[in-house]
Symmetry: C2
Subunit: 230 residues, 2 copies
């Protein structure tokens, strides 16, 4: 169905973390570009929960698209953030002391998208898709629209390309992203996603990520398929 609807031969690379948002974006991309023109990329950057990468691979398989996992050993060498150093606890609030949450890896999304653009450049892929959003979230500055716009300009200038970065969820609430997932048939794949900051499956239900996800599904009036699978 999505393949028939696709009115373009252009191709897209979706940055797929294995979470709810990037999975929803994958189905947005399949609807727009067609299954045969969509690729996914994940990053093994030293995150605490490798289950994210297993989820990404399983989601891509479920959607019949390829999944390339690129290693990044640099963040661990830079050090000093909660998502890659196992001895630093994740704060039980979205934003500790009103500042940036301690899960902040400076420039993480900038690096992901730059590597994705390099990969896309070499393969003639014109579109990048990322699930970043500036609403309803932890306030990561590298997820905001002004950052993504500046990055797109940087990548175009720095690679002499016409790459486009798509951010379908940029201004959506969690409720709206759930509705988008329903619209594009992503709901079954959301059963395969991973969200929990504590790496638990079934999810802990207590961490900020689990609570945010639950709030979105509740507000949309949709049952989270991930919880069905418990």
């Amino acid at each position: 169905m999505a393949d028939i609807q696709a009115a373009t031969d252009e191709s897209a690379l979706v940055v797929l973390s294995g979470g709810q948002d990037s999975t929803t974006c994958l189905y947005w991309a399949i609807d727009r570009f067609g299954t045969a023109n969509v690729y996914t990329m994940s990053f093994d950057y030293g995150q605490r929960h490798k289950i994210e990468l297993e989820c990404a691979a399983r989601i891509a398989e479920h959607a019949s698209v390829s999944n390339v996992c690129l290693p990044i050993n640099t963040f661990a060498a830079i050090g000093g953030d909660a998502l890659t150093e196992s001895d630093i606890a994740v704060a039980n609030s979205l934003s500790a002391e009103g500042g940036l949450p301690n899960t902040f890896v400076p420039g993480r999304n900038l690096v992901f998208l730059t590597f994705a653009a390099a990969y896309a450049y070499q393969r003639g892929i014109e579109h990048l898709v990322t699930g970043v959003a500036q609403t309803d979230y932890s306030g990561y500055p590298d997820c905001r629209e002004d950052t993504i716009r500046a990055l797109q300009q940087t990548l175009r200038a720095g690679m002499e390309s016409a790459i486009v970065i798509h951010t379908p969820l940029m201004h959506m609430s969690k409720k709206e992203t759930v509705e988008l997932a329903v619209q594009f048939g992503a709901l079954p794949a959301l059963a395969l996603t991973h969200t929990c900051y504590n790496g638990e499956r079934p999810p802990c239900g207590e961490c900020p990520a689990c609570q945010l996800r639950a709030k979105g599904f509740a507000e949309a009036g949709i049952q989270d398929p991930l919880l069905d699978s418990r």
Copy 2:
């Protein structure tokens, strides 16, 4: 002398490749910020010539500044470029067929500077210094001023920082960079640099990089101290 002249307590991180240009920039930074406020960073990204990293470490030691070497295993995984794949020959012209030279790693400098900015962010370092230049070179688009300006804007937005990227050599010819090296006392350190694309030491003298270097010294009327050491 440089320490006395420094009129700031701000600090700078110099991206040090081990080559002529970044070494010249290191001495520019020492003059501006003072030895005690200057740090250097190199990248082990799968380059064919590890001698670059040894040179960088030796140059930093010579200048009495620290040198951190960050690993990047991602470019090799992306593949497809001459500087990291040992089975692809380096073209014997600066730009094969009028397009980008085949030593082009898409986005390499973008990645280097983003990682450097992340490192700087976590340590309160406000200034990055890079030896990129848009004149007299191979035409890498990620070395040009518009790219660096866009990247600075991206890093500021994406990390909520006031980071400044300095490019002292941006509009200089090779002759002028040699003169700058003399001005800031970098000449002895240039004996420790590595330029040759073929990884030879003493340099081959035949590759585009060796020829470009020789041309700059010749035009400045300065003897290259690297050749003295042969």
